[in-house]
C-alpha cells in the first residue's frame, strides 16, 4: 500500500473529523460520507475494473432495505442490521455479477441496468415488505452498546468510523494482487488472459466487493434517514454515482470521494438559492467534462501540481 494513499486516507480522516463544524448541517455531512463510501466502492468496478455498471443503485438500495427491515422486524441492533445489509447486498452482487460479468462494454451496462430495474420494481410492488412508493418508514436508531446515536453528531462519528475502516479495506484491495490484476485486465484483456489470469473471476470478485461496500453505504443511509426511500433503488441513483466517479476522477479512489463531496454539497447549496438547481448541476457537469478531463483529482495531478513544481523549481533551483 503506497504511502500517498495512506496520506490521503489520513488527511481525509482529519478533514472529516472537523467537517460537521463547517458543513451546512450535520445530517448533510453524514450523507456526504455515505455517498463518498458508495462512490469509492464503485471506483473498484468502473475505475479499476473498467466495467461501467449501471445497476449499483440495486446494491445500495438492497443494503438500505435490509438494514431497515432487520431493524424494524427482526432485531433492533445496528451491528446485526449492517452485517445483514452487507451480506444480502454481497449476495445480490454475486448474483447480478455472475449473470452479467461475461457481457462486455455496453451490454454489461445494460444487463446490470436491467437487474437494477427489476429490483426497483420488486421493491415497488412488494408493499407489505418495503412500503412501496411510501418508502420504508420508521427505521429506528437503537443504541450501539452504550452510545446513543440519535443525535446527528454521534451518528456522524459512528458513520465516519465505519467509512474509514471500509476505505482502508478498499485501498488495500486496490493495492493487493487482485487490484493489480484488475488493472491489467482493464488495460489489455487479451494479454492478461494469455498470461493466465482468469478474467471473469477477477471481475466478479471486484464486483462483489464493490457491491458489499455499496450495501454498507446503503445500510448507513437507512440509519441516517430513519427511512428507506424507494428512490434509493432508482436508476438515477446509479447515474449519480457514475457522475461522481467521472467528475472526481476514475481509478484514483479519492477522486470519487471528492466527486461525491462536491456534487452533494453543490446541490444542497444551489437548491437553497434557486429552483433551477438542476440546470446549474447540468451546466457544471458539462463544464467539468471540458475543464477537468481526468476529473478533479486528475486536474490537480496533471495541471496544477506539475505547474506548481515548475514554478517552485524555478524559484528554488536545485543545486547540483
Amino acid at each position: 500500500m503506497p504511502r500517498s494513499q495512506l496520506v490521503m486516507l489520513a488527511s481525509f480522516f482529519a478533514l472529516a473529523l472537523v467537517f460537521p463544524l463547517v458543513a451546512p448541517y450535520e445530517a448533510l455531512a453524514s450523507e456526504i460520507l455515505i455517498f463518498a463510501l458508495f462512490a469509492m466502492s464503485y471506483d473498484l468496478v468502473l475505475g479499476y475494473g473498467g466495467m461501467l455498471s449501471f445497476g449499483h443503485a440495486a446494491f445500495f438500495g438492497i443494503g438500505a432495505y435490509s438494514t431497515g427491515i432487520i431493524l424494524i422486524r427482526v432485531v433492533p441492533s445496528v451491528p446485526v442490521a449492517l452485517l445483514g445489509a452487507v451480506c444480502v447486498s454481497s449476495l445480490a452482487a454475486a448474483f447480478v455479477g455472475y449473470a452479467s460479468i461475461r457481457r462486455h462494454g455496453i451490454y454489461f451496462t445494460m444487463v446490470t441496468l436491467a437487474f437494477a430495474q427489476m429490483f426497483y420494481f420488486i421493491a415497488f410492488k412488494w408493499t407489505s415488505l418495503t412500503g412501496g412508493d411510501d418508502g420504508l418508514q420508521g427505521v429506528p436508531r437503537p443504541n450501539i452498546g452504550p452510545t446513543d446515536i440519535h443525535p446527528e453528531i454521534n451518528l456522524y462519528y459512528f458513520i465516519l468510523a465505519l467509512v474509514i475502516v471500509s476505505m482502508f479495506i478498499i485501498v488495500r484491495v486496490v493495492h493487493s494482487p487482485l487490484g493489480t490484476a484488475l488493472q491489467a485486465l482493464r488495460e489489455n484483456r487479451n494479454r492478461a488472459m494469455s498470461v493466465g489470469y482468469n478474467v471473469d473471476r477477477f471481475r466478479l470478485v471486484a464486483f462483489v466487493i464493490s457491491g458489499c461496500f455499496a450495501g454498507l453505504a446503503g445500510g448507513l443511509y437507512a440509519l441516517l434517514l430513519n427511512m428507506v426511500p424507494l428512490g434509493s433503488l432508482h436508476w438515477t441513483t446509479s447515474g449519480e454515482v457514475v457522475v461522481m466517479n467521472i467528475i472526481g476522477g476514475m481509478a484514483t479512489l479519492f477522486g470519487p470521494v471528492i466527486g461525491a463531496v462536491s456534487i452533494i454539497l453543490l446541490r444542497d447549496i444551489i437548491s437553497n438559492y434557486t429552483d433551477a438547481w438542476s440546470l446549474f448541476m447540468g451546466l457544471i457537469f458539462m463544464m467539468a467534462v471540458f475543464g477537468f478531463r481526468d476529473g478533479i483529482v486528475g486536474f490537480f495531478r496533471n495541471k496544477i501540481i506539475p505547474r506548481a513544481n515548475k514554478i517552485l523549481g524555478q524559484a528554488f533551483p536545485r543545486k547540483h
Binding site: V111, Q117, M118, G282
Partner: protein, 292 residues
C-alpha cells in the same frame, strides 16, 4: 378477453412500438458512430414536442407545418450540439461524452421547465385526424393509424438513405470502423455531424408525433429513455434493423403484458432483456467486438 380486444391491443403495441422505433433509430445510429449512450436523446424528444407546441400556438396553428419543420429544426440543433460540444471530446473515452449528454439532458429539461412551467402545455390532435376509422374488424383512432404510417415511411426512408446513397454508405462504414474511414480520406467530422443531426431529427419527429397522445411536459423523455435503451440492446447495438425489430418487440411485450399481467407490464421488458442477453449476448443483430 375477446378477439377484438386482443387485436386492438396488438395494434396499440404497434403504436407504442412505432415511437420506440423512431427514438431507437436515432439512438442507435448515434451509438454506432460515436460509441456513446446519448442520455440527451429523451430530452431531444421532449424538445421536439415543445417545438411543435411553440410553432402551432405562436407561429402558425398548423400541425402539418410543425410535423415537417420540427425534425429539420431539431436536426440543425443536434448538428450544432455535435459541432460545439461532442466534437471536442472524441479523443477521450466515450464515458466523457456520456457525462456531457447527461448534463445536457438536465440543462434542457430544466430550461424547458423554467420557460414553460412544470405542468406541461396543451396539445390537441390535429382537426383532420380526430375521430375513428373503421378497420373492418374494429374502430380505431385515425391519428394512431397516421402515426403508424409516418413511422413506417420514416423507417423506410432512413433505410433507403443508408443503403442506397453514397452518404449512407459512408455512415454505415463509419459505424463499422471510423478510423478506417478517415484513413480512406473521408471527412469523418462532417459525417459525425450529419449522424448526430439525423438522430436528433428523428427524436424530434417522435416528439411531434407523441405530442397529441401524451402529456407534453419537461420530463416526458425521461420515462421513455430507459425503455429505449432496452429496445436498442435487444435489437443489437448499432444495428438499424435491430432498432426497428427491437422497438416492435418491446411495444408488443408491453401490450401483451398489459393483457396478461398488467401490474408487471413495464417490468417484463427488463426481464425479457436480461433473459435475452443471456441467450444472445449481443442482442438480435449486434456484431461481435463492436464498441466493447
Amino acid at each position: 378477453m375477446n378477439l377484438q380486444f386482443v387485436l386492438m391491443q396488438l395494434f396499440n403495441g404497434l403504436i407504442l412500438g412505432s415511437l420506440y422505433v423512431l427514438l431507437a433509430l436515432g439512438l442507435s445510429i448515434i451509438f454506432g458512430m460515436l460509441g456513446i449512450i446519448n442520455f440527451a436523446h429523451g430530452a431531444f424528444f421532449m424538445l421536439g414536442a415543445y417545438a411543435a407546441y411553440t410553432i402551432t400556438s405562436y407561429v402558425i396553428p398548423n400541425f402539418w407545418l410543425a410535423l415537417i419543420s420540427v425534425p429539420v429544426l431539431m436536426a440543425i440543433f443536434g448538428a450544432f450540439c455535435e459541432m460545439l460540444l461532442f466534437r471536442r471530446l472524441y479523443d477521450l473515452p466515450p464515458l466523457y461524452i456520456m457525462l456531457l449528454t447527461f448534463g445536457l439532458m438536465l440543462v434542457l429539461q430544466d430550461a424547458v421547465r423554467l420557460l414553460f412551467g412544470s405542468m406541461g402545455v396543451p396539445f390537441g390532435t390535429p382537426k383532420s385526424l380526430t375521430g375513428m376509422i373503421n378497420l373492418g374488424f374494429m374502430y380505431y383512432p385515425s391519428y394512431r393509424i397516421f402515426l403508424i404510417a409516418v413511422t413506417s415511411l420514416t423507417a423506410a426512408a432512413v433505410w433507403l438513405f443508408l443503403t442506397r446513397t453514397r452518404l449512407g454508405c459512408i455512415i454505415r462504414a463509419g459505424t463499422d470502423n471510423p478510423r478506417m474511414l478517415q484513413a480512406l480520406g473521408i471527412n469523418i467530422s462532417k459525417t459525425m455531424t450529419l449522424v448526430v443531426g439525423m438522430g436528433t431529427g428523428l427524436a424530434g419527429l417522435a416528439g411531434v408525433l407523441a405530442a397529441p397522445i401524451q402529456n407534453v411536459r419537461p420530463l416526458m423523455g425521461m420515462d421513455l429513455l430507459v425503455d429505449c435503451f432496452v429496445v436498442v440492446v435487444i435489437g443489437g447495438m448499432g444495428s438499424l434493423g435491430g432498432s426497428v425489430v427491437g422497438g416492435l418487440i418491446v411495444g408488443q411485450i408491453i401490450a401483451i403484458g398489459v393483457m396478461v399481467w398488467p401490474p408487471m407490464a413495464n417490468t417484463l421488458i427488463y426481464l425479457f432483456m436480461a433473459a435475452f442477453l443471456l441467450i444472445r449476448p449481443r442482442g438480435l443483430f449486434g456484431r461481435e467486438a463492436f464498441h466493447e
